[in-house]
Every structure is written in C-alpha cells, then in structure tokens.
Amino acid sequence: MEAANPPARDIRRHLPGLLLLLAAVVAPWFMSGNWINILILSLLFVFLCVAWNIVGGLTGEFCIGHSLFLAAGAYTSTLLYIHLGVSPWIGMFAGGAIAAAIGMFIAWLSFRYALPHLSFALVTIALAMLGYLAISSIDFLGASRGLTLPVRGSAWYYHFRSDLAFYYIILAHAVAAVLLTMWLYRSKAGLYFRTIRDNERAALAIGVPSLRYKMLAMAISAFMTALAGVFYAQFLLYVEPKTFAGLTIVIEIILFTVVGGTGTVWGPVLGPLLLVPLGEVLRAELGGTAPGLHLFVYGLLLIAVIRFMPGGLMAALSKLGALRVRPSSAKEA
C-alpha cells in the first residue's frame, strides 16, 4: 500500500514520530526518580488514550465504560497472583481476555438494540457505575479497602526494583499501541471502523459487517486497557476501586484524547504527554495547599480546546503545517 510513496518521503513523514521515540528512549538517563515517575504515568495515559481512541475516535463510539476494562485487567491478574501464584505476565492475558469479552458484549448489546450515540454513552456509563459499586462492596475483591499485592521481587512476577524497568515496559506498550493504530489506519479494519463512524447506515448498505467490526474495535481497545490495568496494579502494588474502577480516570482519558485530537494517530499521544506532566508538576508544587488544582486546570484546558481549537492540538498543528497529518485524520473531530 505504501508503494506509491517513495521511501524518502516515507522517512520524512515518520521523522517526528521517530524523534519522539528516540527522546523517550534516552529521556530517563537525564532524569531524577521523580521525573521518571511522572513520565511513567504520562506513558500509561498515552497507552490508555491510544486504546480508547480506537473505540472513541476511530470507530466513533463514545464509550465512558473503559474503567471496566482497566479494573478487569488489574483485578484478574492481581487475584490470580495472590490466590494461585500465577505470574501477572500470564495473568494479563487472562485479564485482557475477560476485558475483551466484556467489551464485545457491550458492542453486541448496543448493536442488537440499535442504540443511538447518546444511549450508548449512557449504557456504558451505567455499566461502569455498576462495576464500581460491585467491586467496592465485594469482599473477595477487597471491597473499598482494595488489595495489596505481595512483593515477590523478581522480574518473573512483573516486579522490578528500579522504576527504569517499569518505564521501558510502559514505553514498549505505548509504542506498540501507536504502531497498531498506524497500521489500523491503513488496514481494511481501520477503514471499516471509520466508515462505521462516519455513516453506519451507508456502511451497512455497502456490506460492511458493522457488528463484527464494532466488536473487534471494542475487543482491541478493551484488551489494551486491561493490560494498562495490569501494569498500573504492578506499578502501585495496590488495587482499589476509586483508582481502577472510578469514573475519574475515564474522564481523564477522554479529556486528554480530546485535547490532543480525537480520531488522529498522534492526538492521544500528544494530549497526555503534555497534560500529565503539567498536572503532576502542579500537584507536586501546590498539591498540599491546593488539592485538585491539576484537575481544575485540565478542565479549563479541555473547555478552551473545544471552544477555540476544535479538533484538538493535532488539528491546530496540521493547520500550522508543523506536522503532516494524513488528510483523513486532520479533517476529523
């Protein structure tokens, strides 16, 4: 498919991305432990936003239920680890599979009942609230106290003494996710996703198997979100409902993605990379005297972007011509 592009142009097109990757690889060498933590959190959100974007941006389904997938990953791997001694490296596939199953069920449900966009958002938010309430009250899942992960202190159990290892793991996750979306953009599946988003009726009419592809998008996105949940649980060594199943993290994911540019490849990367460090610095500097300031700023930025920069940072950048965006994604919002 790339045959039309001479290789030189291809390299130039990917140059910003490659430079970003290079910067990400060498960045922790020049940073203190605190900044590495901030970068880990930023990359975690990059991964989460890229995953959400597959459903929320590419396929155009406004899903507010991604906390379910995050919790499915975190809790499945944690329970397998605590009770059966299964390594989270294996548990993460179990968690991912459960999340993908839940995601496919939601996609099937919404298709079966032909839910309009608004109702789909409401159903996912209701399911997310149900998940949150259930986890907060079931003792086996640690209820609202949460579960503490025992430390076995070896790489086989997804545990590392240095944060650097966690940094490179989440970087690998994020890079893989970006490569996946780049590939999705060119693949038939990605084309179908966008067709469904832009006009589902027309997509059905020309023979796009809408249900199958909606389920596929949800499954991919849910699986990835579950992996993020496993990573976050291993990083914090602690799972509890507010962080892993609450609505705040979903709103943050949506917010970062929208600020970056929904439906684009690089929007969900740029959004969290700019906003998470900003928020963390605010929290570190003023968190003691002004709790919640970073979320306040996030909210203001989101409102400002929607009002003055529709399409997010990516649309603004591509208008400036600073970054080449594929025309199909630049128009999007």
């Binding site: 009942y113 839910l115 608004l118 958002a121 909210g299």
Partner: protein, 288 residues
C-alpha cells in the same frame, strides 16, 4: 416486613423522587432546546449548595432565604455560559457538547474542592432536625419542604412549557429548530433563556436541598447520573415523563435500599437504566 416500614420507605422515596424529577426536568429543558447533554448538571446544584453554605457562614443568612437570589444569579450564569461557551460548539454535535460539559465537571468540582476543601459539610437550616409524623410515617421536615417546593416548581415549569408563549417557543425549538426559525422564533434567545432557566432552577433547588445532603465537592456527578436516569425513564425530551420517572426512581431507590441494603439500593437505578435504554428506548411512557 412490617407494613409501616414499607410505607415509610415508599413515602420517603416519593419525596426524594419529586426532587429528582425537578432536577431531571431542568436537565431535559437544557437537552431539549440545544441538544446539550449536561454532565455538569449536578455540579451546578452542588455549587448552589456550597454558595448557600458560604453565605450562611459569612453573614448567617438562612439558605432558604437565598433560593430566589441564587435563582437569579444562576439564571445569569446559565445564559452567559450558553452564549459564550455552549452555543459556539453546539453545531459540532452531541458528543462534543458532552465533552465540553465533562470539562465543566472537572472545573466545578475542583474549584469547590480548592475553595471549600474536601471535608464533608452539613449545613444547618431553621428546619434541621425537625420531623413530622403522619400516623406511623415519620418524615424529616427539610425533606418535606424540599419535595413540596420541587413539586410546585415542576408543576410551574410544566405550565410554563405548555401554556405560555415562551413554552410554545421552547417546544417549537425542541421539535424542529429550522422550522421554528422560519416561524420567526428568535432561536438563540429562546435557547439562552431556557438554558438559563435550567441552570437557575438548580440554584433554587440547591438552596432548598442543602439541608438534605452532606456536602462533598465530588457529589455532583452522582446527582447528574440520577437525573440522567430519570430523564431516560421519562423518555428523553419528554417533560411529563420526567415527573413520573423521578417518582419511580425515588421509590426504586428507597425500596432497593430497604430490601437489599445500601449497595444494591445504589445499583438498582443503574440496572434499571440499562434495561430501559435497551428495551424501551423512548422511555417508560413513550410509544414504543
């Protein structure tokens, strides 16, 4: 299960329900005229409650006396927000509007957290800690007053929408914006007024409800979700349906808590929401 316990739970559920109905009615008003799904709805009401608290703490004015000033203030805020923020992005579609209000959720919740701190607050009014007994049913007076006010306002709003020129304009804009414009209805002005009215009612309701809740800055989203559930139950955009939906949710919540305890009681409305969205997408009272 003794019958008077059941009666108590049902009555209390109905009273809470009439309050939910009013909140959902203003949510519906905002949704109907502009197609904006306001996720920050509950947060505006919580903002009114904190405002009432602040005035009480500063100058000792009882929250009930603040209802009308808060209505005026919130009406102005609402129309201002509509003209400055909401209207320019309405054409971008439903989801962009919803994202905008998600941003407002963060702004409002955390502004309140910054100003008032995260501790739970209870705000006393002249009526606090007084109960009224009807036979075996004992009801807190603040709840009784709040739901009476909510019921009166709901009826007032209903009459306003159904019997006045403004109401006819609102319904015309709701049904078909282009046709309404062709009939010479000043769409933007009607939308701004309706939006202001919706937010203004929250200011008023907040003042009356403040005694009923323990305040925390993050409680607004739960209220929004309840109002959304009521709106869906009544059939999105159906004003009369909201009234019925509110009462039903209040009773479901009351009886759910009674029979199954707090968690299931809290889960019941969400289960009901999913079922209604799937099985009766036009609401319980709408045509199928």
């Amino acid at each position: 299960m003794p019958i008077d316990v059941l009666l108590q739970a049902t009555t209390q559920g109905l009273l809470m329900g009439s309050i939910y109905a009013l909140v959902a009615l203003s949510l519906t008003l905002i949704f109907a005229v502009g197609g904006l799904l306001n996720f920050a709805h509950g947060d505006f009401m919580v903002l009114a409650m904190y405002a009432a608290f602040a005035v009480l703490a500063a100058v000792g004015v009882d929250p009930y006396l603040l209802a009308v000033p808060l209505f005026g203030l919130f009406f102005l805020v609402g129309t201002g927000l509509f003209r400055g923020l909401v209207r320019p992005v309405l054409s971008e579609g439903l989801l962009v509007g919803a994202q905008l209000t998600l941003g407002m959720v963060f702004v409002l919740q955390n502004a309140m957290l910054l100003i008032f701190g995260g501790d739970h607050l209870s705000v006393p009014t002249v009526l606090s800690n007084r109960n009224v007994a009807f036979g075996t049913v004992i009801l807190p007076l603040p709840l009784l007053v709040a739901s009476a006010v909510a019921a009166i306002l709901s009826i007032f709003l209903y009459v306003l929408l159904m019997r006045t020129d403004f109401g006819r304009q609102v319904r015309a804009v709701t049904q078909n914006r282009d046709a309404a414009a062709l009939m010479g209805i000043p769409i933007v002005r009607v939308q701004a007024k309706a939006f202001g009215l919706g937010i203004g009612l929250l200011g008023l309701t907040g003042a009356f409800l403040v005694a009923q809740f323990t305040l925390t800055p993050s409680m607004g989203l739960d209220l929004t979700l309840l109002a959304l559930i009521v709106m869906v139950f009544g059939g999105i955009g159906n004003f009369l349906g909201c009234l019925g939906g509110g009462l039903i949710i209040g009773v479901i919540e009351g009886l759910g808590t009674l029979f199954f305890g707090g968690t299931v009681g809290a889960m019941a409305p969400y289960v009901a929401l999913v079922l209604v969205l799937l099985l009766r997408p036009h609401g319980l009272f709408g045509e199928h």
